[in-house]
């Protein structure tokens, strides 16, 4: 069950589709689902709306007020969760097989009859505002948030999914109800299930859980991001002994013919943990950091490549110089035959390591649907990665990597950082509504 996961496509009598991996290793079932359309659709003055929905859908439903709803879940050890992402809204339930009936009942209630009682909504808002304020103490969070603000300026992606204190404060129970009626429907739903359940048993359940949702979600349009502020350096000054650095430049779409070559390139450059060039140069050879890594990300409306590290203030400029130099070297020369082979064997061989629990498998087959990757993706990924050549990587690297285009955010007291623009600390002025 690795590069050919035994996925069954199950369609309910009412026409709702789910992907299923039946697996009876343990008496556990995980049902994960997503509605397309996430926090990027939050209006600017209501940033944090989707996240508040995710945090209040389990605060009472039907005739069960919040505490009773939680007690019903906990009595049967049912894990019900919702989370808002930029492009999608996720939900899921994990249950013991013997308690599955109650799990489906409570999930159905949460999706179709959420209470959104004023008292609970007010409490959860306070909790979420507190969470935002606690995040300000974390330099890494501050760096990422500042970077998003700079590179996604003018696009909803600049807003954190959590929203801001003042936008969360003004959300109401009616906002939540409108969101649910517009965004949770059958046409934007995808479902992944794994565990101790048959296709025959799953089919009618899909109708029970999702069958009463509206047929259509509200349509929306978002524009593709053009990364802003490219090549500039920003510093958020904080009195800490280390500088947290994050950098970003334009990435590559997942549908691009060079995607798999870019994946190999990123693994060799900074994605491959201890074995990447960046780790070798910045950590292993020079001891400048505990960790440095790069990522290729593909949100629906933005493709971005990022790199991050934490390093002593006095070494920050040097660490940045080395990262940019490795960026350029990769753009110029690509990878060696040995690096290519090592990346291919890791990226193909390690996939099964991630598919070892009911939840992880359900998440994975949900992800395949959310990203439109297709049921044959594990096999196709194996084949496409295996076919990548040095010339492919060199082409992708040359096309993609440009150290001059890296937008940089440093949080701390970096020394000798040239041409840096002071950026406001989001912790300051956070109380201004």
């Amino acid at each position: 069950m690795t590069h050919n996961l035994p996925i069954t496509i199950v369609t309910s009598p009412g026409g709702i589709t789910a992907w299923l991996v039946e697996d009876r290793m343990v008496p556990v079932i995980s049902l994960q689902f997503a509605f397309r359309g996430g926090s990027a659709l939050d209006p600017a003055d209501k940033a944090g709306l989707a996240n508040l929905v995710a945090s209040t859908l389990d605060e009472g439903a039907g005739n069960l007020p919040s505490l009773e709803f939680h007690r019903a879940l906990e009595d049967q050890s049912i894990y019900l969760s919702f989370s808002a992402k930029r492009d999608d809204f996720h939900g899921g339930v994990k249950t013991l097989r013997d308690n599955a009936g109650e799990a489906w009942r409570l999930l159905t209630l949460a999706l179709t009859q959420p209470r959104f009682d004023d008292e609970e909504v007010a409490r959860v808002k306070e909790q979420l505002i507190s969470d935002i304020q606690h995040h300000y103490a974390d330099p890494s969070w501050v760096a990422q948030r500042t970077l998003n603000k700079m590179v996604y300026a003018g696009h909803p992606y600049q807003q954190p999914t959590s929203g801001f204190e003042e936008t969360v404060a003004r959300l109401t129970a009616d906002d939540l109800r409108v969101w649910v009626s517009e965004r949770m429907a059958r046409d934007n739903l995808v479902v992944g299930v794994c565990g101790d359940i048959s296709a025959t048993d799953l089919a009618p359940l899909l109708d029970q859980i999702f069958g009463t949702l509206p047929v259509q979600s509200k349509t929306f349009e978002l524009s593709q991001v053009t990364l802003a502020a490219t090549g500039k350096n920003f510093t958020v000054t904080r009195g800490i002994p280390q500088t947290r650095v994050v950098m970003a430049q334009p990435g590559i779409p997942r549908t691009d013919p060079d995607w798999f070559a870019a994946m190999v390139m990123n693994y060799v450059l900074g994605g491959g943990g201890f074995n990447s060039r960046l780790m070798m140069e910045v950590r292993e050879k020079r001891g400048l950091t505990y960790g440095v890594s790069s990522q290729l990300s593909h949100n629906k409306y933005a493709n971005i490549m990022t790199v991050g590290a934490a390093t002593s203030n006095e070494n920050a400029a040097e660490a940045i110089r080395i990262i940019k130099s490795e960026w350029q070297t990769m753009a110029n020369d690509g990878v060696s035959a040995e690096e290519l082979k090592n990346a291919q064997t890791y990226l193909t061989g390690s996939l099964p390591l991630a598919l070892t629990s009911t939840d992880k498998i359900a998440d994975f087959i949900l992800h395949l649907q959310v990203e439109h990757l297709g049921i044959d993706y594990p096999a196709r990924r194996l084949e496409r990665l295996g076919a990548v050549t040095r010339a492919d990587v060199a082409r992708a690297a040359k096309r993609l990597l440009n150290p001059e285009a890296l937008t940089l955010v440093a949080v701390g007291q970096p020394q000798n950082l040239m041409d840096s623009i002071a950026a406001p600390d989001p912790a300051q002025g956070s109380h201004h509504a």
């Binding site: 069950m1 690795t2 697996d23 290793m25 343990v26 556990v28 919040s66 505490l67 939680h70 007690r71 906990e74 009595d75 049967q76 050890s77 013991l96 409490r123 306070e126 909790q127 505002i129 507190s130 969470d131 304020q133 606690h134 300000y136 103490a137 330099p139 904080r238 009195g239 800490i240 280390q242 947290r244 491959g272 943990g273 201890f274 074995n275 950590r283 292993e284 050879k285 020079r286 001891g287 400048l288 950091t289 505990y290 960790g291 934490a310 002593s312 064997t345 890791y346 193909t348 061989g349 390690s350 099964p352 390591l353 598919l355 070892t356 629990s357 939840d359 701390g412 912790a427 300051q428």
Partner: protein, 437 residues
Amino acid sequence: MLSYTQSASAEGSRGLFHPQSFTLPNGMRVVLIENHRAPIVTHMMWYRVGSADDPVGQSGIAHFFEHLMFKGTAKIPAGEISRIIARNGGDDNAFTSYDYTAYYTSIAVDRLPLIMELEADRMENLALVDEVLFTERDVILEERKQVVDSQPMHRLQEQMMTALLPHLPYGTPIIGWADEISKLDKIAADYFYAHWYAPNNAILVVSGAVTMDELRPLAEKYYGPLKPKPMLPRLRPKSDHLPAPQRITLSDPAVQLPVLNLAYVAPSYGSASDGRVPYALEVMNEIMSEGATSRLYKSLVMEQKVASSVGLYYNATALADNALMVYAAPVPDVSVDELEKALHVEIRRAVLGGFTEDEIGGAKKRMIAEATYARDSVKHPAYLFGMALTTGQDLQDIEEWPERIAAVGAAEVNAAARLVFNTENFITAILLPGENN
């Protein structure tokens, strides 16, 4: 020659993971938890040594040494071990705690012999050179700056542990004090290696798609030839009661909202004079802090609305007395004082009124259900057995955990709550917003 002992619980239908185990003649214990869901294994080598075994003045050596285990042998150059594992499609890493250090690899099952060859090699043939060692020391100083010095909450918790357990090794941070880390050298590393790293101080835990008939000859081949060595004693002095309460406050300009921590001394599986007490404390933990219906969350977050988050942290898997921590964060308009009073009301309620049969029954039912979820993983069981076997427990302690939890009675939970909470002498540690400089 082999003393092959299948654990008793593997025979019947009871038990959770049905581990199989034997001990090599050189003293190395081997434990297998079979899981044939995917053709992979997690191979974990655990050592009975942790930061609590750091010599005085050399805090951080156990953790530093864990990093050095990747720095090469006569056969394998520095850093190469992770590269070999990665190009075979595997993931590897390691971690150090107070009482144990573990090295783990997850990989396709047909690569198991390769992993064992590499792991056996570095157990006996590590070859450190100054240049590599000093660079890695810089990495660890950066690690300390990243995970402690730049995080106000971690700076406070470090000070809290030191105050709570002043003469116990858990009062010293696992990563060590910066000044002492910066003086660690090859002499210290070689001494540590010679006295802690040997098959008789190691436990191999394998979880995944392999049978004992396949694993045993491999373990004999690769680990059998390793020579046992005399090990140092593990010193875990019994904690004295704190002579007085102590209050610590840390202000930091990056902090927007306060956080309140209370820390109490609690017995562990390894230290409890009455072995049932830690189980009772685990049940108490469940009632007090697990889920939205737990006492603390229900009272402080949902009903009184004074806290945005609240919880209790207790880890029974330790050799010595440990910290039991309660934490809470106030919602924006509530003062720390008000929150602190509300928290102590709940703690007094636990001490004076105890818990109801209903609460205890519900908690036990949830905890036992949790054990079924624990089987839904390849790595998790390997962690459970490794932690248990390096802290004085044995296989049946994990296998019988659900039954022992089921046997906990109300009187035991109430007595355990009084044992830990019925004192004026605990640590109050408060994180506060600070002035901008």
